[in-house]
């Protein structure tokens, strides 16, 4: 089976409210499949990304995020590595963020020629809650932005 030229890798936790944002993006993308695109659910283990990059022309990663001044549902997109993340103590494998893995993939020469990051701003990530309406809407917008990026960058 051949590898899709574009990988869209989404992280999230559906049991923790807005932390599901990346996975909601995956859900929206899967509603209208694109044969050029493989949508991967990384769940809470972004390390799985590192073994999925071979023979890709492009990578998009989607995740929940917080940043100063953001409102829940805001969407941010950047080409990697034009983004920066707060370094937090990595006590556990869980503490290695999606961007840590992008960084590592880059240092190992594993990243495809084009890598793009799409983040959905969140508010709350409490156990047992559903994602907020604002984040659900943000996920829709994020998915649309990913489709447009793929259309611009992939033949």
């Amino acid at each position: 089976m051949s590898t899709a030229p574009v990988l869209v890798a989404c992280c999230g936790n559906r049991t923790r409210g807005d932390d599901a944002a990346g996975l909601l993006v995956a859900d929206v993308l899967r509603e209208t499949p694109d044969p050029r695109v493989e949508v991967a659910d990384l769940g809470m283990d972004p390390s799985a990304l590192l073994n999925m990059l071979e023979n890709r022309h492009a990578l998009v990663v989607a995740d929940a995020a917080r940043w100063d001044g953001a409102e829940p549902g805001d969407v941010l997109e950047f080409d990697w590595p034009d983004i920066d993340a707060v370094r937090e103590a990595r006590l556990s494998g869980h503490g290695l963020s999606l961007l840590d893995h992008l960084d590592l993939a880059g240092r190992l020469g594993l990243l495809p020629p084009a890598t793009h990051v799409v983040a959905v701003a969140i508010e709350r990530a409490e156990a047992g809650e559903s994602a907020s309406a604002a984040v659900v809407e943000g996920a829709d917008e994020a998915a649309e932005r990913i489709r447009r990026w793929v259309a611009r960058h992939v033949a």
Binding site: C11, N13, R14, T15, R16, D18, D19, A21, A40, D41, L42, G43, M44, D45, P46, S47, A48, L50, N51, D63, A64, A65, R66, W67, D68, G69, E71, D74, V75, L76, E77, D82, I83, D84, A85, V86, E88, A89, R90, L91, S92, G93, H94, G95, L96, S97, L98, L99, D100, D103, L104, R107, L108, G109, A119, I122, A125, E126, A127, G128
Partner: protein, 447 residues
């Protein structure tokens, strides 16, 4: 006596993702370590409540969501505990291929979890790098090798679980489906190759790394099966006399709530703290490692300068490496002997019952206890994860260790404390992981 800065606090808001949950706090007063706290957010309490009223057959997939890196541990413990409640535990154990397949999928999890921890987190500490990211610049081939081995683990999990992330293959009674012999045979060469590669990496970890010295008199708790290395089955055993049937483990421990942490701290009743995890398993059962791993024990012990038992949890790194060789070799044996069973699971009609069982998550014993109603719904659930069991031990390690770093800068002291905690590969905050982005590199307008 070494002089310390007389009054200070070493603090790491380690996992301040949600309202400051997850932190290290070491207080030094008048030159003495006055207080040590490890704050951990623990998700299983939420799941215990969430499971009440759910059909017992949902429990494996629901509890797997407690941990994104070790879902198989939660699935297997819940399956065995519920199989006991339904009176089918012995049938599952003796059914053709179901028990070996349970061991095989667990091997996959050990491989991918141990490799992730060893090479992405723990080894950088010992080699003086901030993380695998900076380590990859100088040790790229080693990291690539590790990733290749990790992929073997992920692919084993996917083979039996349907996918590497959020595997869904395991069911109460066995598996939802089992793989074709051809699919198992196709993966076997990479597993065999992985044994050799991981054996070399094990000797590298043993000989190229200088291990800090922190020896303590731990009570090591692990499963101890009738035969083989601890993984899915066996009584629960310690080096200090604990030897109980699985069902009685909950009576042997006491879980205490401490205000600084939502995770309950586990103690052996009448004794105190204990350790679960690779060091406990290795010390208790190293004679039962697969021969490919057992052959490495003596040269590894020579290289690290310590014979077993190891009482220094910095040596959990080579312990994990030995276990990874064991898991690869055991997986190869199971796959070589695999014959597709006619039935993937034992059928049963839900009934009222109680059951308890623990399995060896990569981080240590993960123990579940369930009470089931006549209609098959869960009346109560009790989940004891490995990190909560280690929490008191971690704090005691910090208490012992803190004087050694008290003269360092705050940043360096905190890093050293993090290094110590990483010995335990704690399952902390697996529940949230959203990114925190720096404002200075973001556009000034809403995009």
């Amino acid at each position: 006596m070494r002089l310390m800065k007389s009054n200070r606090v070493i603090k790491v808001d380690a996992l301040a993702r949600v309202e400051g949950e997850g932190a290290i706090y070491v207080k030094i007063r008048n030159g003495q370590v006055a207080d040590v706290k490890l704050k951990i957010y623990e998700l299983p309490r939420f799941f215990e409540a969430f499971l009440r009223g759910r059909d017992l057959r949902e429990a494996p997939d629901l509890t797997a969501r407690i941990c994104g890196i070790c879902p198989i541990a939660y699935q297997s413990a819940s399956c065995y505990a519920l199989e006991k409640s339904q009176g089918i535990f012995e049938q599952v154990k003796s059914a053709p291929m179901i028990q070996p397949l349970r061991d095989l999928i667990y091997c996959g999890e050990w491989i991918e979890s141990h490799v992730l921890h060893m090479f992405m987190l723990h080894l950088p500490d010992f080699l003086g790098f901030e993380s695998a990211i900076s380590m990859a610049e100088k040790h790229g081939p080693t990291v690539r090798e590790a990733l290749a081995i990790k992929k073997v683990g992920n692919d084993i999990v996917a083979l039996l679980g349907g996918r590497a992330v959020h595997p869904v293959g395991m069911a109460v009674g066995g598996f939802h489906r089992v793989p074709d012999e051809a699919d198992v045979a196709a993966l076997l060469p990479r597993v065999r190759e992985g044994i050799d590669r991981m054996s070399e990496l094990t000797m590298f970890l043993a000989s190229a790394v200088k291990y800090p010295d922190l020896e303590r008199d731990y009570e090591f708790v692990s499963l101890r099966p009738d035969e083989g290395y601890p993984m899915n089955l066996g009584r629960i055993h310690s080096n200090k006399g604990l030897d109980v049937e699985q069902e009685r483990f909950g009576l042997c421990i006491e879980e205490r709530h401490h205000p600084h942490s939502t995770a309950l701290h586990s103690l052996i009743r009448g004794r105190g703290s204990y350790m679960v995890g690779p060091l406990a398993r290795l010390n208790n059962c190293h004679d039962r490692l697969h021969p490919r791993a057992r052959a490495l024990v003596e040269p590894v012990c020579r290289a690290v300068g310590r014979t077993l038992p190891w009482r220094n949890n910095f040596l959990s790194l080579p312990a994990r490496a030995l276990e990874t060789v064991h898991a690869l070799a055991l997986a190869a044996d199971i796959m070589t002997a695999y014959r597709r069973p006619a039935e993937p699971r034992i059928a049963f009609t839900p009934r009222a019952g109680r059951g308890a069982h623990g399995t060896e998550a990569p981080r240590g014993v993960c123990w579940h206890e369930y009470s089931v109603a006549a209609d098959g719904s869960i009346e109560s659930a009790h989940i004891v994860p490995p990190t909560a069991q280690n929490q008191t031990t971690i704090e005691e390690d910090l208490l012992e260790f803190a004087p050694r770093v008290a003269d360092l800068s705050d940043e360096e002291a905190a890093l050293q404390c993090e290094h110590l905690i990483r010995n335990y590969d704690p399952c902390i905050s697996c529940s949230v992981h959203f990114l925190k982005l720096r404002r200075t590199r973001l556009p000034s307008r809403k995009d």
